[in-house]
């Protein structure tokens, strides 16, 4: 059922070879290629401005507008995208000269960063700019310029080695090969460390080599993540476990998408049974309005596994009453195009009728292995 729905990439490059040991082998050096493409893009961006200057023009840039009116929900792609509206930034304009300069600087800084195989964080960028005398007023301004660069190039900032501070974790039978300098060619199995491994720049940029897993389970809460490791759920369900720690950072969303696309593994999202858990799931599946300018963060094939409002009743999980703010959120969700489809719509109605919510930790009520023995097998079976 689940497997039936997952599209297998037919192109030779993206196909995952099956090995006799039932381990999937991935040939592709995808990350390195991607790096080269990023560098090329950055360089040609510089080239465009350079040519404008040589022609005696004030350098200018055109990019899709990210204003709310231009953020649309694409029903076919099942995610937010930017519409047709474009904005032009010309250094001829007194209000644009500074942002244009900052944008070119950010691009050239990212280029050097990538060339040297180094990474940086959003905060780092804010401070680095000062050394080049193109200071940002605050980090919000520098974050915004980085988003501009993403929009202009159509690449996420992680592609040019700029990462956020927050980290989430991954655990499971996946062998990766690093591409970061000093570790190139080194490979590692992600079951090595029982706490899981941080999804940082090194992991995000590594290539997937092989895996015995046949699914991904994405978990909102750290306690549940640890439980599933301890209870050997990853073995029982052949799953790679990912802990989002609340709303997943973009690099985590990228990893989920890559695991889904490159390895063809189905993704199941396991969150608290409340509107906020649903929001985490929908962000992984459809992306967010904030990142409408980027196409490679969403995983449309991912499935929301739970907790459903109906699960709370069915498994008699300890629950608490919905708060006013929860109800307001649920009402807003009814107007959100991302929640039109099946499980969402019915569950929203169910929540509003049942008026109860429940956290993942609530499973402990029935013993430490209840979730592994009872809930997960039943749920996975039904999806």
């Amino acid at each position: 059922m689940a497997k039936k729905r997952i599209k297998r990439q037919s192109s030779k490059k993206k196909r995952i070879k099956r090995q006799s040991s039932k381990k999937k082998r991935i040939k592709r050096q995808s990350m390195k290629k991607r790096k080269e493409m990023t560098l090329k893009k950055l360089r040609s961006f510089g080239g465009v401005l350079y040519n404008q200057l040589n022609k005696g023009e004030f350098p200018w840039i055109e990019m899709p507008s990210r204003s709310t009116s231009n953020i649309l929900y694409d029903d076919r792609l099942k995610q937010y995208i930017l519409g047709k509206k474009h904005v032009k930034r010309s250094s001829r304009n007194i209000r644009h000269i500074r942002p244009v300069t900052q944008l070119v600087w950010t691009a050239s800084f990212a280029y050097t960063l990538n060339k040297q195989g180094k990474t940086s964080t959003l905060r780092d960028i804010f401070y680095s700019a000062q050394a080049f005398d193109v200071p940002f007023k605050n980090q919000q301004e520098s974050d915004n310029i980085i988003t501009d660069l993403e929009t202009v190039l159509g690449f996420a900032r992680e592609d040019f080695n700029i990462f956020p501070e927050e980290r989430s974790q991954i655990f499971g039978d996946l062998t990766i090969e690093y591409t970061v300098p000093g570790y190139e060619g080194n490979s590692l199995n992600l079951t090595t460390h029982p706490d899981g491994l941080a999804i940082g720049p090194a992991l995000t940029t590594s290539d997937f080599k092989s895996t015995k897993a046949n699914k991904i389970i994405v978990i909102e809460k750290g306690a549940m993540f640890t439980r599933l490791i301890e209870e050997k759920a990853f073995k029982k369900f052949k799953a790679i476990l990912i802990h989002t720690a609340g709303q997943p950072p973009r690099s985590t969303r990228r990893i989920i998408r890559r695991l889904n696309k490159e390895l063809g593994l189905p993704v199941y999202i396991f969150c608290d049974g409340d509107p906020w858990g649903m929001a985490i799931a929908i962000t992984i599946i459809c992306g967010s309005a904030n990142a409408a300018h980027l196409k490679e963060l969403a995983t449309p094939e991912a499935k929301w596994m739970g907790l459903y409002s109906s699960d709370i009743q069915k498994y008699k999980l300890p629950s608490t009453k919905l708060k006013v703010i929860d109800i307001k959120r649920l009402r807003d969700m009814r107007k959100d195009p991302r929640y039109i489809a099946k499980p969402w719509k019915t569950q929203i109605t169910h929540f509003l009728q049942n008026k109860r919510k429940c956290e993942l930790e609530a499973f402990s009520r029935y013993g430490l292995d209840y979730v592994v023995k009872k809930y997960l097998p039943e749920k996975l079976n039904r999806l």
């Binding site: 000269i97 500074r98 691009a107």
Partner: protein, 523 residues
């Protein structure tokens, strides 16, 4: 002993002692009224009264003033005290005083030459003598006056004031030869005071005096021997004020009585057209018809109720011409402007003089200047320099009419004038009678007529300030704009060259030039 309150009936045994006190005694007892309240303020007031007398003595005769003031410490100065003894000496090149009037001019309170109706600094015949009186009561020493009207002799008097009799006591008199025909006056005496504390106000007073008298040269040597010199920047002086007759709107019963007793006129028509400002034969006739008084009536035969009637009629008759301003001596746009430039050194200045106007029969003229930058510090409000009859008013600014107009009467936002700009307003009121609130001559009372003129003048100068500021802003904005391009465009060129992997940075000079040319057009 039981004391009962009386109900207004029965005999009261009155034990009070009744006696008259002299004006000198009165002001001795109430010296704080005239600004002699403590050692700091008294020193300031003494310098100010003497300097104002000297300026009056020069200006009434259109003499370019040269005034020297010296203050030096006397006696022991070792201890730290509240007040010290100083010698003050002031010398001017004014008209001088005829010898027979010297003792009274400096030794008799309410004696003076300025009771006539014209614009002068002094008014009550009080200031100079209060300074001398204060010196006398604090140091118990006499004052020396040397003066000459510019003939062959100069006279030196050593005088004390007899407070109880309000009479000068001449202790010594000398006559000197004066071959060079020097004219002027020297006043020299001891007084107690505290210069260290008075210094800021004294210097501010001198600076502002120099501002409003740009044709004067004033030097001041302070007790430490430091010389302050306020230079003359123009040789032009305002026309001296002419004496004028009282205007009917400003008359009261007592004044009419006095005029009658001094008058030689025998009929009301000639009486009215002789003794009052702006009343000729025709106006006199119309007024008498209005007041129902016969032309032939002899003014000397008027009884009290008839005089009261005349005063009432004078107040209600609407057709008197307003007082003219020949008795005033304003500075004028140029001189006030020169003074402001000299002392404040501003980047921009505009001065307006209002047409003469009158309140209760007293003519007045308002002159207002506005200045930006230079030595004017930026402050949260607008800095105000107040002047009346060419003297600076330093104390009690908060109660002054000009301050009230600035703070409450003007919508500064309309004039694009924000707080923290280096802006000063200079207001000058000239009148035969400046409506001071106190004898101390420190602030002007609220008179609707004066308030209206000040407001109109400030609005006019504020309009010029707005024009200046918006021009300045435009230029400033333009400069910033060009700076911004000059700062960032080379960076765009550098970074994009690096990013594109090229060697030669494109020439951006033409682009920067085009910005500048565009900028000029905008201006």
């Amino acid at each position: 002993m039981s004391t009962k309150t009386t109900r207004g009936k029965g005999k009261v045994s009155n034990n009070e002692e009744y006696r008259e006190i002299s004006p000198a005694d009165f002001f001795y007892r109430n010296r704080d009224l005239a600004g002699f309240s403590n050692p700091t303020r008294s020193l300031y007031s003494a310098i100010r009264e003497l300097l104002e007398n000297s300026l009056d003595a020069c200006e009434l005769y259109k003499i370019l003033p040269n005034i020297h003031i010296r203050l030096s410490l006397e006696g022991d100065t070792e201890d730290v005290k509240d007040s010290y003894t100083y010698r003050i000496r002031i010398m001017d090149n004014g008209s001088g005083i005829p010898p027979e009037h010297i003792p009274s001019s400096f030794g008799q309170i309410l004696f003076g030459s300025k009771y006539r109706l014209r614009q002068v600094r002094g008014t009550f015949g009080l200031g100079g003598k209060m300074a001398i009186l204060y010196g006398q009561i604090t140091t118990n020493t006499p004052a020396t006056i040397i003066s000459s009207v510019g003939n062959g002799k100069s006279y030196e008097f050593l005088i004390r004031i007899d407070i109880l009799k309000n009479k000068p006591e001449v202790l010594n008199k000398k006559v000197h030869k004066n071959k060079i025909a020097w004219h002027g006056t020297i006043v020299d005496f001891l007084l107690d005071g505290n210069y260290v504390r008075a210094m800021p106000r004294v210097l501010e007073y001198l600076r502002q005096t120099a501002l409003v008298n740009p044709y004067a040269e004033i030097t001041f040597i302070d007790p430490s021997g430091r010389l302050y010199k306020f230079e003359r920047v123009t040789f032009v002086m305002p026309e001296p004020p002419k004496e004028t007759l009282p205007h009917p709107y400003g008359c009261d019963v007592e004044l009419i009585r006095r005029i009658i007793s001094a008058s030689k006129c025998t009929d009301m028509l000639t009486f009215m057209s002789t003794h009052f400002h702006r009343i000729g034969k025709k106006t006199a006739q119309r007024f008498l018809t209005y007041a129902k008084i016969k032309k032939k009536t002899n003014p000397h035969k008027l009884n009290s109720s008839e005089i009261v009637h005349i005063v009432q009629m004078m107040k209600t008759y609407g057709d008197f011409l307003p007082p003219d301003a020949s008795c005033l001596s304003p500075l004028g746009k140029d001189l006030l402007g020169a003074g402001i430039k000299k002392e404040l050194n501003p980047e921009f200045i505009h001065v307006e003089q209002r047409k003469p106007s009158a309140y209760s029969g007293f003519p007045f003229i308002v002159e207002v200047g506005i200045a930006y930058g230079g030595d004017i510090p930026a402050s949260s409000g607008i800095i105000l320099y107040r002047f009346a009859n060419k003297i600076p008013l330093i104390y009690d600014e908060a109660s002054d009419i000009s301050r009230k107009v600035i703070n409450e009467g003007i919508n500064w936002r309309y004039y694009k004038i924000a707080p923290n700009l280096p802006i000063a307003i200079i207001s000058h009121i000239c009148s035969t009678k400046v409506p001071y609130m106190t004898v101390g001559k420190e602030f002007i009372a609220d008179r609707p007529e004066i308030e209206r003129e000040i407001k109109a003048a400030i609005k006019t100068v504020a309009r010029y300030m707005r024009i200046f500021l918006s021009r300045k802003n435009r230029i400033e904005h333009e400069r910033k704009r060009i700076d911004l391009f000059a700062r960032y465009l080379p960076k765009v060129a550098k970074f994009s060259t690096e990013l594109a992997g090229k060697k030669k940075i494109p020439d951006i000079e033409p682009l920067l030039r085009s910005i500048r040319r565009y900028g000029k057009k905008e201006d």
